[in-house]
């Protein structure tokens, strides 16, 4: 039920970082190619890339068996989008009492089942 721009490309809407810069981080992670140069390696990775790599690692461990290198790279880009989104979400300050807009409802026992018993 999502339109094309509504799903994974949200980073562009908020003017976040482009995706092009992520490729080097990915190749370094998987060791598939000489991804980052020595000079680059000495420079700390942009903050969003490190958590994206970690989350990508979890996904690869769980589901990565059937993914080829190109798909794994594409997945890292998608995860990076999610990390960027999370950062934008956490940048907005909320106070303690602001609850999520999904409320758990208790379920009453049906009258018959609630009857009887010694308590």
């Amino acid at each position: 039920m999502t339109a094309p721009v509504g799903r994974r490309r949200f980073v562009f809407w908020v003017g976040g970082a482009g995706l092009a810069s992520l490729t080097g981080g990915f190749t370094a992670l998987l060791g598939l190619a000489p991804g980052r140069s020595e000079a680059q390696a000495k420079t700390p990775a942009p903050p969003a890339i490190a958590p994206a790599r970690a989350l990508h690692g979890v996904l690869i461990a769980r589901y990565g068996k059937g993914l080829d290198a190109a798909q794994s790279k594409g997945l890292l880009e998608a995860v990076e989008n999610g990390v960027q989104a999370g950062r934008a979400l956490r940048a907005k300050k909320l106070h303690n009492g602001q609850e999520p807009q999904a409320i758990f409802h208790v379920q009453s026992m049906p009258p018959r089942a609630a009857e009887g018993g010694g308590r």
Partner: protein
């Protein structure tokens, strides 16, 4: 005897013909079935033609009409549903190869309500696989091929309600039911030049509909006119104990108020800052033309500041997390590999990496988001924007490469979906190549009657909805 151009008639006209006995439901149904079977494949608009059920329902409708039993204004009128709505006796494929043979024992609530209203189900219509929830990036994202646009088959019909958009535009059905999580009714309505109504969250039960995002999914009508959408919404709205999100409000619609007898103040419309600056020139020109059509029936405020909140990231986190949970079986079984769109086969895993805190942060932000939009609606009746920034994308192009210089401005579609607000999209004209452009109006919760009336004001002036794509005439 069926009139020659019956397929272009609005619902109220079809209804009157049925009531007067000028045509039978069976005649109408046979005629639409013939169009679905001959023209449907040209647009990849149809997954399953429900011929046997349709003929059965049409016979029943005629029997009741003969006994002067008239269930609703939709009595005897054929329709189609996006193939994420269950219909007993037929596959419900969710547009995806892994579910090609899936069947459910019961009708979805919307199909049940339409049956109760006397309408006749003639087709299960195409859609983007899993309603686009796995991150598709091109039109080739359905097991039965990309939705093709009736105005030009080299272009996409939009998503994820591709089939409803194309089928209504090509007059294969008088109306259809689509679904929207974030743009999936408005986008195909815009690309195909039909009228699409996204109802307030909770107004229509989703029992028996594929779940992608429980807190965002909505079902709504796609049809020729705003009035048609009102008639359909009146039939499908209402509370359902089986869908805890559904509300008791219901919806009544007897047609747009007659301006000769009902005096009303001009609509107060807000055009957010940045809405038109980077859209395609034809989109902008036609948007302005549509606003001008209101004349003195609207007071338009330009350059309204859009609330600075992370709308896109919130939709992304919520659809990602809820979608990954809803399709966990598919993800864990390796079933994503069977999807059609190459990107869906890997990007679909990403939702499983949205952290619980990010998801909850997005859900908490929905409170301040609703407050921010409600503040706007204290001053304005509706937000007016182009429905989409561009005309339909070329069918063989990745979306990001289609119109790289075009941008739609403030994220009104994700904002409206996050806040559960209604919106309506209608045709505003065409570009030089003959592809439709649109205007959309979004209002506060439960403002459907105002939005439909507003859209009807423009439609009756512009008459864009009366134009038909070439090649659909019999």
């Amino acid at each position: 005897m069926i009139p020659k151009r019956f397929y272009a008639y609005p619902l109220r006209q079809l209804s009157a013909m049925l009531q007067l006995g000028e045509v039978t439901s069976l005649e109408l149904t046979e005629a639409y079935l013939a169009r679905l079977e001959t023209l449907g494949p040209e647009y990849n608009a149809v997954v399953t033609v429900t011929r046997d059920r349709a003929l059965d329902e049409a016979s029943n409708a005629d029997g009741e009409l003969a006994r002067k039993k008239f269930r609703s204004p939709l009595h005897g009128i054929p329709y189609g549903v996006k193939d994420l709505l269950a219909a007993r006796g037929y596959p419900t494929t969710w547009g995806a190869a892994p579910y090609k043979t899936q069947q459910f024992r019961e009708d979805s609530e919307v199909v049940r309500r339409l049956k109760d209203a006397g309408a006749v189900l003639v087709a299960k219509l195409s859609m983007v696989e899993l309603a686009g929830g796995m991150g598709y990036d091109r039109a080739q994202a359905a097991f039965n091929g990309p939705g093709l646009n009736p105005w030009n088959k080299m272009y996409w019909s939009g998503g994820s309600s591709s089939g409803p958009g194309a089928a209504v535009a090509a007059c294969l059905v008088p109306f259809a039911i689509g679904s929207e999580t974030s743009g999936s009714i408005l986008t195909p309505s815009s690309f195909c030049g039909v009228t699409g109504l996204r109802p307030t969250y909770g107004l229509v039960s989703r029992r028996g509909a594929m779940a992608l995002s429980w807190t965002l999914d909505k079902l709504g009508p796609m049809a020729r006119t705003a009035d048609d959408c009102g008639m359909v919404l009146a039939a499908i709205a209402g509370q359902d104990a089986a869908d805890p999100s559904s509300l008791a409000n219901g919806f009544e619609w007897s047609g747009p108020p007659d301006p000769r007898t009902v005096k009303r103040r001009p609509w107060r419309l807000a055009v957010p800052k940045g809405s038109v600056e980077k859209v395609q020139p034809a989109v902008r020109a036609n948007f302005e033309q549509a606003l001008a059509a209101f004349g003195d029936m609207a007071e338009i405020t330009r350059d309204v500041e859009w609330p600075d909140l992370p709308w896109g990231p919130a939709v992304g986190a919520i659809v990602g997390a809820e979608g990954a949970s809803a399709f966990l079986d598919l993800i864990e079984s390796g079933g994503l590999a069977q999807l059609t769109c190459p990107r869906d086969r890997h990007a679909g895993f990403a939702g499983a990496a949205v952290t619980a805190v990010d998801y909850l942060q997005a859900m908490r932000l929905r409170g301040p988001m609703k407050d921010a939009l409600n503040q706007l609606f204290e001053k304005y009746d509706a937000i007016a924007t182009p429905g989409r920034a561009s005309v339909a994308y070329p069918v063989h192009e990745e979306f990001s490469k289609a119109y790289p210089d075009v941008s739609g401005g403030p994220p009104v579609i994700p904002a409206g979906n996050l806040c559960g607000l209604p919106a309506i999209c209608i045709g505003s004209g065409f570009d030089k190549g003959g592809l439709p452009t649109s205007i959309a109006f979004m209002g506060p919760a439960f403002s459907e009657a105002s939005l439909i009336t507003m859209a009807n004001d423009v439609q009756t002036k512009l008459r864009v909805h009366e134009k038909r794509p070439a090649g659909i005439e019999e």
